[in-house]
Symmetry: C2
Subunit: 591 residues, 2 copies
């Protein structure tokens, strides 16, 4: 019942008109990335997602995964779609050409990711996890491991997982109990139980490579005693094909609110053979070097679902005739399309302003990732890496909260029909909900922002964001045409600066103060970042607005954002400045 | 996995300490409603809900309703639980003693309703709809219809429905096509299709009484040409038992996001025999006299789900050990209970402040309903009715938005476990979602508030709320101990007054302006009403706080509300005052 069309025009706007494409093309291996080279990739991805993945989304949700005798069956059509996905080269898109990849930068791959998430989030989890395993091995694996495994991950022939969580250990990975004993031949025997393992078992690939956090026999306690191991489901035979079955098995799959076509597995390791990835006891650090990428990936899930929900809410609002809009009839029939009702427009514009704003912010962040990994100058790399480190928790929480709020709003536009499964809108809500939880709950993102990113290197990360934002505001202070956008931005930024200073000051005296304000602060940060995006968008769009409806819509959306969404920064500031006293005073026993 | 205990102590606080129980006991038939009389009812309801209804909530969700050959089978245990519900007299609680009811006022029945919604919302729909049919017939039916049907509805032997929506007609009931032709014997033949009919068909009762909106042959077009008919599934035989099957049948049931154990039916009327209820062409008006009650009932669904989600989030937060809370270890083990983490406390206190505040506001509104229906003085009845008319859209939207937000927050406290079905938390979210949609979407509530309730009788409704609120603020202006509560309340109230005046002024010139600000205005109104509740709660609790933890918790929660939630009123005010220009400027084609 729902439909999806990749928002190519807006993606082009985000990439070509709102981002520093000159900086992108100056990177090694990116010099030929003109629009003529990029557009066909985006178009092909849009067609593949709309035609191959999207039609399996509703049926995948209804059918779910099936667990029988240790085997997970994905829903009908998934294995065929996965083969087509690999054949199309989509698993190889962002991978190293040395292992068969296409070497496309993050800032482009992210847009393809968005389309996959819009079309079929559950499906996207499988190659997404495979890419996570690729990234871990590529960065931390020995050359031998890389040669053996990376080509299979790049081609999509084999998939991967991230095995972190255990029953007693989720957010706090220092509590894990899975153990790894050295065998003596360079390999280890891994034993323990992992839960919530996405793609832990499925029928899409000939092999699954588990990246497992475990403790060496005499490891220090806590997070400084965790190592990372590669544990394949099948040990590769001499010819490179899957050989003997390893001692790892799926014990059960979870029944979840959403992403039902993505298997979520209990994985039992019973002396399974594995190989160390990276340094002993540095596994968490190895994991965390990939976290920025994984968290941005989860952020894009929120964006993708918000986009597809918006598209279908608009389609319904155009067709559904109900009531007379205030201010006179719009249509000629017995009722107006609900698109004419101001409260429906409010809902749609809220969804639109958030999704389009996040798209640009996502591309900006991904472009800095590209610079951080590819730029020849270490200083430029460090700068970009600082920006990414700072923005990652903001983007992860902001986008996924937005995904949840927007899909719920999209559903509301459809009224009762939104609540009915066959219309598809409620699935987006259920699918979106997990993104606020996994890869670190959004509360943990907020603590990462105020507890770590805000303070390290005496606020150096913050300056990577604050300085160019301040420069933008100063550069446009005298611009009358932009004043309605730049003034609210400047006000929000001054609130952000005030709260930053206050949280830093109070947090020194009492760390509970920083934690108490963290979630509000992250939201304040995110909304200010989007205000920057929209002020920039207005700047870019205004010259073309008189003659082009696309740019008029940008200006109108920027105005909507400033007037209707950005004021939340005032409430957040009040709440932050009120401090954490009210949280502390409440007695534990009284909850 | 989840658990539920009726929050009796807080209900007693809301009823006995926060409400005007003297006014309640002064009403005819209420003079013996002392705590000694009420408490046993609440206690028995709490036990029944926890022991009989709650255990069927998860299984009912998993099993859902089954449709076979026109028959709907409710989930296992539902028929038995329904019989026990009737045997316990719970269907009769708020009904007229003349027809076998117990005559309990709304303000007490509402608390029982809350327990039912916390325990098993789907189950509660069936007797809830029966009570709706009871209320419609009781108020608008002929004496003959009342004598014939009311005792069966009061005893719960027969159930009822409200048949309003049609495929082309939801919010806009002027578009309905169902027709009623007079037969000549005082009855009518009703023909048409109704959708989204809760409890349209099920296996709980021997008969189902459909209250159907339909058009008489020469009815005026639009909402002034709608009449209300009673169409029983089985025509009563002479002995009062269900006799011949009427020409009404369930064609299908919907598959929904939640409330899966509540059947949502397509109902086909094929010349079914029916009887007019109320005046010809005044059916919508008859329906709307019951809407206040029905909408308050839906509001309580939001409250009930928020409460049970809160209870289970707290239980998890006490037991789950993860990470070290900032500011030093709380427990002795390897990690602290997450209850010690400020961000978790923020989530729990947000849920608590909203649920407890709404409970009091609900009782206040229900008490005014009681006065409006029972007081001997017509002037007092009118005053109370004004208050209820004004508060109903606010309460419906505020409570159900809160239900959605709080159940989602409760789920977040559980992290990954919140997303797993067996933990039960995600069901509350899915069940809560419908309450924002049915009985008039929350956007429609907002339009009702600004478009009708705000302006009628030159703002008379508003004065029923504004005057006593202003009197409260003035009475406590010099109270230093209350200043931290009364000052924020006064600020919020002054924002509300400013926005009221502005919306009224602008709405006169351009009705799209009032509609554009409606949703923000309703939220502003609701948060201000809750600020009044919490300032009152602080006033009541402060004297007892030094010696009693229950009252200390009230004071601390009031403080949390003022500092962390009420500031949203500032953002809402900014958004309202910015007006609707941004909504109008966006071109339809650009969506």
């Amino acid at each position: 019942m729902p439909s999806y069309t990749a928002p190519l025009r807006d993606m082009q706007f985000a990439l070509y008109e709102m981002s520093d494409t000159a900086a992108l093309r100056a990177l090694p291996g990116c010099d030929d990335l003109s629009p003529d080279a990029i557009d066909p990739v985006l178009e092909a991805a849009g067609v593949f997602c709309a035609e191959m993945l999207f039609p399996l989304n509703r049926s995948g949700d209804e059918e779910g995964c099936r667990f029988e005798n240790g085997v997970v069956h994905t829903p009908k059509g998934f294995p065929e779609a996965y083969r087509a996905f690999c054949d199309g080269g989509w698993t190889a898109l962002g991978c190293d050409p040395a292992y068969g990849g296409q070497g496309l930068p993050h800032s482009i791959g992210l847009l393809v990711q968005e389309m996959i998430c819009s079309s079929n989030l559950s499906f996207g989890m499988y190659p997404g996890l495979g890419h996570g395993a690729y990234a871990a091995l590529h960065r931390h694996g020995t050359q031998e491991l890389r040669n053996l495994y990376l080509p299979k991950l790049v081609s999509g022939e084999w998939a991967g997982t991230m095995c972190l969580t255990e029953p007693q250990s989720g957010t706090d990975l220092g509590l894990i109990r899975t153990r790894a004993e050295p065998v003596g031949d360079g390999s280890y025997r891994v034993t323990g139980t992992k839960i919530f393992i996405s793609g832990g078992e499925h029928d899409l690939t000939g092999n699954i490579l588990h990246l497992v956090l475990a403790k060496l026999p005499d490891a220090p306690s806590g997070t400084r005693g965790i190592s990372l191991f590669l544990v394949p489901k099948f040990l590769p035979a001499d010819d490179g094909r899957p050989g003997a079955r390893n001692a790892v098995a799926c014990g059960a799959i979870e029944h979840k609110m959403g992403i039902k076509a993505s298997s979520t597995c209990v994985m039992n390791f019973d002396g399974a053979q594995g190989w160390l990835v990276g340094e002993p006891n540095r596994g968490l650090s190895a994991m965390f070097t990939m976290m920025n990428e994984a968290r941005l990936g989860v952020a894009i899930q929120g964006l993708g679902l918000a986009e597809v929900s918006y598209q279908n809410a608009v389609a319904y609002a155009r067709e559904r005739l109900q009531g007379r809009a205030p201010g006179g009839a719009h249509g000629k029939g017995p009722a107006d399309p609900i698109l004419a009702h101001p409260d429906v427009r409010r809902m749609l514009l809220t969804m639109r302003a958030m999704a389009e704003g996040c798209r640009v912010l996502g591309v900006w962040t991904a472009l800095q990732q590209d610079i951080a990994t590819r730029h020849p100058d270490p200083a430029r790399r460090q700068e970009a890496d600082d920006f990414v480190a700072l923005l990652t928790p903001v983007v992860k929480a902001l986008f996924t909260d937005m995904g949840w709020e927007s899909t719920a709003t999209g559903m509301q536009v459809l009224g009762g029909h939104g609540y009915i499964r066959e219309w598809g809108m409620e699935q987006y809500v259920r699918d979106a909900r997990i993104a606020q939880i996994y890869e670190g709950t959004n509360g943990i993102q907020a603590l990462d922002l105020v507890g770590r990113k805000m303070s390290v290197h005496a606020g150096r990360y913050l300056r990577r964001f604050f300085h160019p934002l301040l420069a933008f505001i100063e550069a446009h202070e005298g611009n009358a045409a932009l004043a309605e956008f730049v003034q609210p931005l400047a006000k929000a930024f001054s609130r952000l600066q005030q709260c930053t200073a206050e949280l830093a000051r109070r947090g020194l005296a009492d760390p509970t103060e920083a934690a108490a304000g963290a979630t509000d602060y992250l939201r304040l940060f995110g909304l200010t970042a989007l205000a920057w995006v929209w002020a920039r968008a207005a700047e870019v769009a205004l010259p073309h607005a008189p003659t082009d409806a696309f740019y008029r819509a940008k200006v109108a959306t920027a105005r909507f954002y400033m007037q209707k969404i950005l004021p939340q920064t005032g409430a957040l500031t009040s709440s932050i400045l009120a401090g954490g006293g009210a949280l502390r005073q409440f007695e534990d026993a009284a909850f």
